[in-house]
């Protein structure tokens, strides 16, 4: 049997269970326990698109070095679902461990010589310890948590404190949880040599970090940005964003005297309506947003074009999932880039922000509202399921109390009193951004908003010149936003021949891949685009490197295409690394593809073009 090197704070666990059986909270406790021990950690929840009874997995990666993108290999497999034993066993890294419920014997064909099977009779012990059938099921999860605590050297006090916090108001439940935890812990202590070579040890690597998912962080951003109207239609994986906004508002947005709401959340009848509500509220002067996923973006297409052309602010969170169509609602992907940037028929181009993690979800949410009002246009925050629904350890969110919303060019009653006439779509300042007014303000501010042809004064037109003046100004306006969207994250290495260029949640895996490549002697520069329209620095980065690998999570190389068509990047220098099976990106995948592309000829890079134009 292969003996693994002892690896403290550097390993990964995968837990295979059945959804709807209470494993989610045990897994989350495990994640939090590691986090509270000051060790960088991440959790990836691979859940099915149903409510109960199907296989579900939870992956925890522990990395003292701070690499928390999805793990490449799993050292410990907690195999609690007989339906997936086979593939779960196969997925353990050589030299790893398999925890299983030894209330039933492990079938011989599922044993591997290079994997240590650790049986714990969880079901049996639970039946002995607990009366209620519900408790017997739920407590198995806390049982394996106890077992892992013993095996991995999780500080018991940390777990106990977490349990106390979770069940602060439910003393009885707390007691059973304690018991179940002890049950697993004690059994393993008594029967297995603890801890395993892969184990934890308290660190102080997290500073002021928090463990948060991107949707919650984005919701916080909406609260802090002063958003008052949310209009939405439920869709995985965006639902938790509005849920979080709603919860936060219930606490922080009540009028202290009347208890009335300083917000209005509209559960719309569909996404078309949600988009309409956002623009209605934005036109009226509220900061309004919606959260949706790909199918919602498709349905909102017509209204997005209206917002663009009639120049109405609105913030759209797209928490991407695997497409096309309904696709895999509980799997992640970055495949809405094209759809968003060019949303709606006719000439349109939209401002988009690409957060990489929950902290940026918070920051970019706030920024999106400012940009939407500054540029009077829909702004998209392009997140995804991995960022939005998984817990990430990120530096604490920061807030400056001096922040005030940038309402952009809004003429209030006083200003209107002073102006001679008001022309809604006129480029008064030469920056492409016209002035707007809000209904109810002043008789002089009245204008007619329309998605049909209009001239600079807001009058209906079918005249080429009048029409063109407005659409040309809009083009200039959006182009100018390139300087105002978050600028790329950049790490240039002067002597590097190769560049890595990526977007969103790929960041961690690409940075880790970069380190691994460096270990192999390959220096690379790094750029992560964070906003659209792109600035000139993007093409410059590409020009400065012999070859740039564009890493993204979609089939068609959408970012690569955008870089070529929209940033003026030289396509001949852009190789493509794409993973789009629906799982968060792992560093090993990036390294593997890059090495393959480098070791094969240039022809190979062309093969990496997602659409071979002729079938060879």
């Amino acid at each position: 049997m292969i003996q693994p090197a002892s690896r403290t704070n550097d390993f990964a666990i995968k837990i295979a269970t059945v959804n709807g059986t209470g494993s989610a909270s045990a897994n989350s406790l495990l994640l939090q326990a590691v986090f509270r021990m000051g060790i960088p950690v991440s959790g990836k929840n691979l859940f099915p698109s149903n409510i109960q009874g199907l296989p579900t997995w939870y992956e925890i990666r522990v990395s003292g070095a701070g690499h928390t993108s999805r793990a490449d290999r799993f050292d410990v497999m907690v195999a609690m679902n007989p339906a997936t034993y086979e593939r779960d066993v196969a997925e353990v890294a050589p030299g790893g461990w398999l925890l299983y419920d030894s209330s039933w014997p492990l079938r011989a064909e599922l044993q591997r010589p290079d994997v240590t099977a650790i049986g714990i009779p969880l079901a049996r012990m639970c039946v002995e310890q607990f009366e209620a059938s519900r408790a017997r099921i739920l407590m198995k999860n806390i049982g394996y948590l106890g077992a892992l605590a013993a095996l991995l050297d999780i500080e018991v006090a940390v777990v106990e404190r977490l349990l106390e916090e979770s069940f602060a108001s439910k003393k009885k439940l707390l007691q059973s949880n304690f018991e179940a935890f002890r049950m697993g812990f004690d059994y393993v202590q008594a029967n297995v040599a603890c801890p395993l070579p892969v184990r934890l040890s308290r660190l102080d690597a997290l500073g002021d970090a928090i463990l948060i998912d991107g949707n919650t962080a984005a919701a916080l951003g909406c609260v802090y940005a002063g958003a008052t109207v949310a209009a939405w239609y439920p869709i995985t994986p965006s639902t938790s964003l509005v849920d979080a906004f709603s919860g936060l508002c219930d606490t922080y947005r009540k009028d202290p005297e009347s208890g009335a709401n300083r917000f209005c959340i509209l559960q719309a009848e569909d996404e078309l309506a949600a988009a309409g509500m956002v623009f209605g509220a934005g036109w009226t002067g509220a900061r309004a947003f919606t959260a949706t996923s790909g199918p919602g973006i498709s349905l909102m297409n017509e209204l997005i074009g209206l917002g663009y052309y009639a120049e109405i602010p609105g913030v759209f969170f797209d928490i991407q999932r695997a497409g096309p169509s309904t696709g895999m609602p509980t799997r992640t992907q970055q495949a809405d880039l094209m759809s968003i940037v060019y949303a709606s028929h006719g000439d349109t181009r939209h401002i988009a922000l690409f957060p990489a993690d929950p902290r940026e979800c918070f920051d970019f949410a706030v920024r999106a509202f400012d940009l939407a009002e500054r540029f009077q246009t829909p702004v998209f925050v392009v997140s995804d399921l991995d960022i939005g629904m998984n817990d990430w350890a990120v530096p604490a969110l920061a807030w400056d109390d001096d922040y005030r919303p940038d309402r952009g060019k809004v003429l209030d009653a006083d200003a209107l009193e002073r102006v001679a006439t008001f022309s809604r779509y006129l480029d008064v300042d030469g920056d492409g951004v016209p002035y707007r007014t809000l209904p109810g303000t002043h008789p002089k501010g009245a204008y007619f908003t329309r998605g049909s042809g209009h001239d600079e004064h807001g009058r209906y037109t079918e005249d080429a010149a009048g029409y063109t003046a407005v659409v040309d100004r809009i083009a200039r306006k959006i182009a100018a936003a390139a300087a105002h969207v978050p600028q790329p994250e950049l790490a240039r290495v002067p002597e590097a021949r190769y560049g890595l260029l990526t977007i969103g949640g790929c960041r961690g895996a690409v940075l880790e891949a970069r380190e691994r490549l460096r270990e192999r002697g390959l220096e690379t520069s790094f750029m992560r685009v964070r906003g659209f329209p792109f600035g000139d620095d993007v093409a410059a980065f590409v020009a400065e490197h012999e070859r740039t690998f564009v890493v993204e999570q979609n089939r068609d190389g959408q970012l690569r295409k955008l870089l070529i068509a929209e940033a003026g990047a030289d396509s001949a220098r852009l190789a493509s690394v794409r993973r789009y099976g629906g799982l968060p990106l792992a560093a090993g995948e990036v390294v593997e593809d890059i090495l393959r592309l480098l070791t094969t000829s240039v022809a190979a890079i062309e093969v990496s073009d997602p659409h071979p134009r002729s079938i060879r």
């Binding site: 009335a260 300083r262 209005c264 209605g280 009245a446």
Partner: protein, 351 residues
Amino acid sequence: MSYIAKPKVRHPGLERNAAGLTRRDYEGSMSTLCAGCGHDSITAALIEAFFDLDLEPHRVAKLSGIGCSGKTPAYFLSAAHGFNGVHGRMPAIATGVAAANRELTLIGISGDGDSLSIGLGQLSHAIRRNVDMLYVIENNGVYGLTKGQFSASADVGSKSKKGEANRQRPIDPVFLALTLGASFVARSFSGDKRQLVPIIEAGIAHRGFALIDIVSPCVTFNDHEASTKSYRYTRGHNRPVIEADFVPPAVEITASQAGGSAGDVRMHDGSVVRFRKVPDEYDPSDRDAVYAFLRERQGAGELPTGLLYLDPTAEELHDVSGTVAGPLVDVPYERLCPGAVVLEEIQGRFR
């Protein structure tokens, strides 16, 4: 059809209302609709009603979808913000406006295509939310702007200009609204300004969704012999079943009941809807009775019109949402942002 250039809608005299404004101040730009289009008469009635109500135009937001009907908000209240949205989606846009600023007077103008085909879902849900707005359907049984296809309100047997008879059952917005629990349901005729103006006034005063389905003949595509939405047919079949006067809040109420079972209904803003000449069996506050009565009359070939159903007490969007009293747009940012200290507190939960 006539080809004489239409003058800007004009009104007699330059009388001023309590807001110090003349009727002229409630007008908009010149209509580009066909001469004789019913929609223009509705525009005139709206102008009349706004004048009567002493509304300040800039406190009004006027919205529409797409169609000949959708163009009409340009033809009244040039000093109000207007929003000509996309086809069938005005109800959602209006809902967003109402959410953001509950103190605006909100008017939506739609067509039968805009409301009953592409917009049916949104209209239904705006009714369900009881969004505080006046919602006018300028109902001509055809898609005017796209040149006369039958709409979903075309009656069975009504013939197109080419002579083809419609065979699909119509969707009747009045029954739809009653079924969906609407709080204010009326039907009128563009040609009956006397009936229409007080209904519009009551609809504006109503706190909640006030639906007025107005038969508004399309002179170009649906005003011929065998059409059931022509001027002639509508005049011939129009049966006002209940009359309503509108008494603004300022006016003292003296006489109480003028007949029938309905009498005076006090609106949220203190105004009063005074029902007159109400048939004995008719109770405009009894949804099911109204439904049954109208079904019967329509079954007999009549077109019953009037302020047909009214419930001034139904909860509107903001009641259900529990929103603060003033407009959300007026809540200062300082009351919206919990601040850095609270953020630090909140983050405690995530450690």
